[in-house]
Symmetry: C2
Subunit: 338 residues, 2 copies
């Protein structure tokens, strides 16, 4: 009986503690603002309203947890894309690192210009030049080797303007939005024009998004046994370009469900937003509008990178949320407390 | 005080009930056998040992939950694949259903033979004939339309030999294995040579595997706006064949992690098993060997469908588990209690 009474007391303590902790959780949830970097306004309000509706049981808008799929573009939506896509800056750094192994690059465009530091001249060759740079720097290794190359680069490379590490140029308000959606049962995916294997090494740590929820552009890979070990070799051949019409195609291919929320910042995201929001049922679409020349960059209808032109008109027509970065966001990047 | 005391009593009741239920759960978990359709033996033992090791914290074999990825072939591993792949039987039924809209099929192979009921003659054209049948029956509609066609077929079609619905020709021991792995924190994926959109409409209900964890062969799709609505049209063009070397390629493409457990039944799964088990670290590979001519089918080294030849040798060489269906499984299909 002694033991039993002791057990009872222990149990009671555990249960009481559990209850108190549960109560505290509830109290915190009720008081802390999960979107604290968002200024009060239409954008923030629209997000909260959508999530409240989708998660309220017993209403016609209620969406079961397994169908709460949210897709996010990456460049310009979750992290900065200026003065150039970060992956292009990575590729340029790789050209410099690989140059000693490629003496022929000294005379061959677009590499020759890149090595002289003239990025503009190198990219004058347009899409073809970019593709040459990407294939020369992204292919020819194994998937495991490429992962390490990306990790090593991110560990040391700094943004040319802010001098911050690239992974600290993610938008604090969007990190909060990702967490807020996940706390409400959403599964968050990245659907980016960027390289799928360029993103996967770091998205879990930076965004809380695991590799299997990252969709992007890809080059072909080939399975081989090398010295008794299975490897995947990255080939210099485009497999899939995950932009514009490619985004709904990829969403269907990888996820097999239609998202109920989609987030982008450019015309390249328009088809993803249409696919998500132009069907029956509750849905939410949001464009990040780059309006803050002081804290980040300001660009839209006439920009080369991240052009947002048709998308702005479509957002207005369809009642999608447009975030005015300057007005709606209290901070841009996570607070730098180093 | 009255209310407060009432509240206290209610709370105490809730907590007590919660405790009792928790205790019952624990008791059930400790006594019930999660693999009750498996006979005691090496195969069952090897599964339990692997899961125990991978989930035991503080050991060198421990695998964090997010890395517990298990991949399963479908045809012949999770459900029967005899006397033909069920998807081919679906395609043949579709040819018959679509014949009135295609009067030209009466004179055109492989359709003419199929419509006369001579499947063997129709398939004499080999891979080319199969591809023609697949494209004629799987393309030309939207993804939403195709999903409905598959669902409608499964709701009424019966297996030519057992007369069971196809979705009841899944292996009970494998259903238990899927549940057992998930109960131990594993994320279970299908990686099948079968069509990705042929499987996704029913894998959640039948296997507990949601669409975003189903990988398969695919045809190309095209994004379009039709009458103001976004659709994806299925094109008669192969996109990806998810078999043999394609399986590790697809696993890397879709999941972006190496599985730590893989399950198959044929040489078409060999590369997936190599990719999973021929690397450093804890891993588990298993072949289902079809040895039960009485309760299911018996076939291996010389079979056209699901040939298991090289795989048997590799399993022996590498110490992979080989399930002897006849010996290791108490039942094949879920008990038919109609």
């Amino acid at each position: 009986m002694e033991v039993s009474s002791k057990m009872k007391r222990t149990l009671l303590t555990v249960l009481t503690l559990g209850f108190i902790l549960g109560f505290l959780d509830l109290a915190i949830a009720q008081t802390a603002d999960p979107l604290s970097s968002w200024n009060d306004g239409e954008a923030k309000q629209s997000i909260i309203e959508f999530v409240s509706k989708a998660t309220k049981q017993g209403t016609s808008d209620f969406v079961p947890v397994e169908e709460r799929i949210a897709t996010f573009d990456n460049d310009g939506t979750l992290w900065t894309e200026q003065p150039a896509y970060f992956q292009l800056l990575f590729a340029i750094d790789r050209v410099k690192a690989l140059a000693p192994q490629h003496p022929e690059w000294k005379e061959k465009e677009p590499f020759a210009s890149l090595l002289k530091g003239d990025t503009k001249a190198a990219l004058a060759g347009g899409e073809h030049a970019v593709l040459e740079i990407v294939m020369a720097t992204h292919a020819g290794n194994t998937t495991a080797e490429f992962r390490e190359i990306v990790q090593d680069w991110l560990a040391t490379a700094k943004h040319p303007v802010t001098k911050r590490p690239y992974t600290e140029m993610v938008y604090q308000p969007m990190l909060e939005l990702l967490s807020y959606l996940r706390a409400n049962g959403f599964k968050t995916f990245i659907v980016s024009g960027g390289g799928i294997e360029f993103m996967r090494p770091w998205t879990k740590k930076v965004y809380g998004i695991p590799p299997e929820q990252v969709i992007g552009s890809s080059i072909r890979t080939k399975y081989e046994m090398r010295d008794g070990k299975p490897i995947l070799v990255r080939l210099p051949e485009l497999d899939f370009f995950d932009d514009k019409e490619g985004k709904p195609v990829a969403i269907n291919q990888y996820i097999g469900r239609r998202p109920i929320a989609a987030f982008g910042n450019s015309d390249g995201d328009l088809q993803m937003l249409q696919w998500t929001c132009l069907e029956e049922g509750i849905s939410f679409c949001l464009y990040v509008h780059h309006t803050d020349a002081e804290r980040e960059w300001a660009y839209d209808r006439k920009s080369g990178i991240g052009r947002l032109d048709k998308g702005l008109d479509e957002a207005k027509k369809n009642g999608w949320t447009v975030v005015d970065m300057k007005q709606d966001w209290k901070v841009i990047y996570p607070v730098d407390d180093r």
